[in-house]
Amino acid sequence: MSGFTWRSASRICVLLLVSSLIVIPLAATILGGFKTDGELRAEPFGLPDVWRTEYYAEIFADTRFWRYLWNSLVISLLTVALTLILGSMAAYAFAQAKFFGSRFLFSYLLLGLMFPFAAAIMPLFLTVRDLGILDTPWGVILPQVAFGLAFSIMFFRTFFKQMPPELFEAARVDGCGYIRFYFYFTLPLSTPILATIAVFVFVQSWNNYLLPLIMLNDRAGYTWTLGAMDYRGEYISSWNRTLAFMTMTLTPAVVFFIAAQKYIVAGLTGGSVKG
């Protein structure tokens, strides 16, 4: 083991500082759910004197909480599924097939990256209303997919382009066309990028507040972000309940990230080409 060096000490300090920016608020949120309101005001970051589980239990027992969570989950999973399917298929066409206007079309799609979500909220609302999907999960899912496509196509295309062209040629000799190649090779070999995009899209959708706020009016269809507001309105002074609620709603996103994390490793194509 090497001894003490100023270099590693300063590195540890910087890492501690950066991680504390995330860990401290997160810990305060989790711990806040175990404290009384008075304790929370007096000592927001410390450990609770008595670990009170009743606020968590209250939320656990609340059917509204589970409904919000379910709504968010349905919307996020469908958004992820649609973005991955559409994005990867489009990117595959851009990466593999040569066709007239492909560059123009790709640039057109990338324009979506420059368009801020909030700026489009009014026309988005009108379009969703005209489509008759206002107040349904699709009213949130479809705009989220549309806005997620630009960046997912860009990432997918870069990844697909790195696939050795001989792989497609060998598969072609074996009798594989473009569509079969997509299912037999492109998708199984792209788990790292699929997982990365899935995490991005899921977290973005899970935490989306503005779009559900505009599109969903019926309380039964609320996502957890709207539900949180609902809680805060009901227990305006009850921050401990709100924090307990936040902790519970954070869990699925964290679980999803941890599950996908192990796939976010490149190098799956190692060994296909050359030694």
């Binding site: 001989e166 072609r172 074996d174 009798g175």
Partner: protein, 333 residues
């Protein structure tokens, strides 16, 4: 087994003519090697036969059937790539059997044929491994297994040994030659290595600038090269191509003498020169000699000959093995 015939095949990439117009017949059951320098169009020609590139004009016939517009998988061909192109997420068995799986063959038949191929290539112990767990030579064998299992009429090899080290290359060369004998199939093999071409081929096709310079058996090309390009390409060290008075005295514009067709002596000979450098290989001695009035000449002598840089030596070319050229063609001997 099948004959491959190319009739008036042309290939252009945009304005660039890679293969101007080419007619070639590859005999049934032969081991034909397409050889030539980088960019000569040999790989393109192979890819045209495979169907991975579309012809600009002309026809490709395999076993008498016009396959010009057919997909690669409908041509009864199998191809082995320089980079192996193994499917990284599949095991060796899945790699080999993938083509059969796509052709919806029964599971039992796929297993039987994969095992047959594995036996031929001694891959039985590796069937459950992934490509990344294999060495270069093993990977290449899997790539060949993938070709064998489809029982194609024609095997196409695109520089399959160029990623292997020298020792493995020699071993695989022998294995491929044995495989050809065992399968008795038509094989077309692309390489830029003339040693591979000479040692493996029944027929060598030498290409340059998309044009077939000469085709024939290795010894025909060695003994009677059709033009100075072929003369210089076949043989190692390369043939001495000499111009000037020494050529005109022999009644040609250019004469060629292979390094092994000289007699080297210390006291008498037709040409006198000074050794610039000598390589002692044990089995052979290669001397680079500056000959006055002739130029630089490479000489190869069997066995160890004690010549050193700076020595004066005499060279006598074997007149019977002199190659005479005028312009771009061979003069009748």
């Amino acid at each position: 087994m099948a004959e491959v015939r190319l009739e008036g095949v042309k290939k252009c990439f945009g304005a660039v003519k890679v293969i101007p117009k080419l007619d070639l017949t590859i005999a049934d059951g032969s081991f034909t090697v397409l050889v030539g320098p980088s960019g000569c169009g040999k790989s393109t020609l192979l890819r045209l036969i495979a169907g991975l590139e579309e012809t600009t004009a002309g026809q490709i016939l395999i076993d008498g059937v016009d396959v010009t517009d057919r997909e690669p998988s409908d041509r009864s061909i199998a191809m082995v790539f320089q980079s192996y192109a193994l499917y990284p997420h599949m095991t060796v068995a899945q790699n080999i059997g993938f083509g059969l799986r796509l052709a919806r063959k029964p599971r039992s038949e796929i297993r039987r044929r994969v095992e047959e191929a594995a036996e031929i290539l001694q891959l039985q112990a590796l069937l459950d491994r992934k490509p990344r767990q294999l060495s270069g030579g093993q990977r290449q064998r899997v790539a060949i297994g993938r070709a064998i299992v489809r029982k194609p009429k024609v095997f196409l090899f695109d520089e399959p040994l160029s990623n292997l080290d020298a020792a493995l290359r020699t071993q695989m060369r022998v294995e491929l030659a044995e495989l050809h004998a065992k399968l008795d199939a038509t094989m077309i093999y692309v390489t830029h290595d003339q040693v591979e071409a000479m040692t493996m081929a029944d027929q060598i096709v030498i290409m340059d600038g998309g044009i077939v310079q000469q085709s024939g058996s290795p010894m025909t090309l060695y003994d009677r090269p059709a033009n100075p390009f072929v003369a210089g390409f076949i043989g190692s060290p390369r043939m001495n191509l000499l111009e000037g008075t020494v050529a005109s005295d022999a009644g040609a514009e250019l004469i060629g003498v292979r390094p092994e067709h000289f007699v080297l002596s210390n006291d008498a000979g037709s040409w006198e020169g000074r050794v610039r450098y000598a390589e002692h290989l044990g089995s052979d001695t290669v001397a680079y000699v500056d000959v006055e009035g002739v130029g630089s000449v490479t000489v190869r002598v069997s066995g160890e000959v004690p010549v050193r840089a700076g020595d004066r030596v005499f060279l006598t070319p074997n007149q019977a093995r002199l190659h005479k050229f005028a312009g771009d063609r061979r003069l009748a001997a």
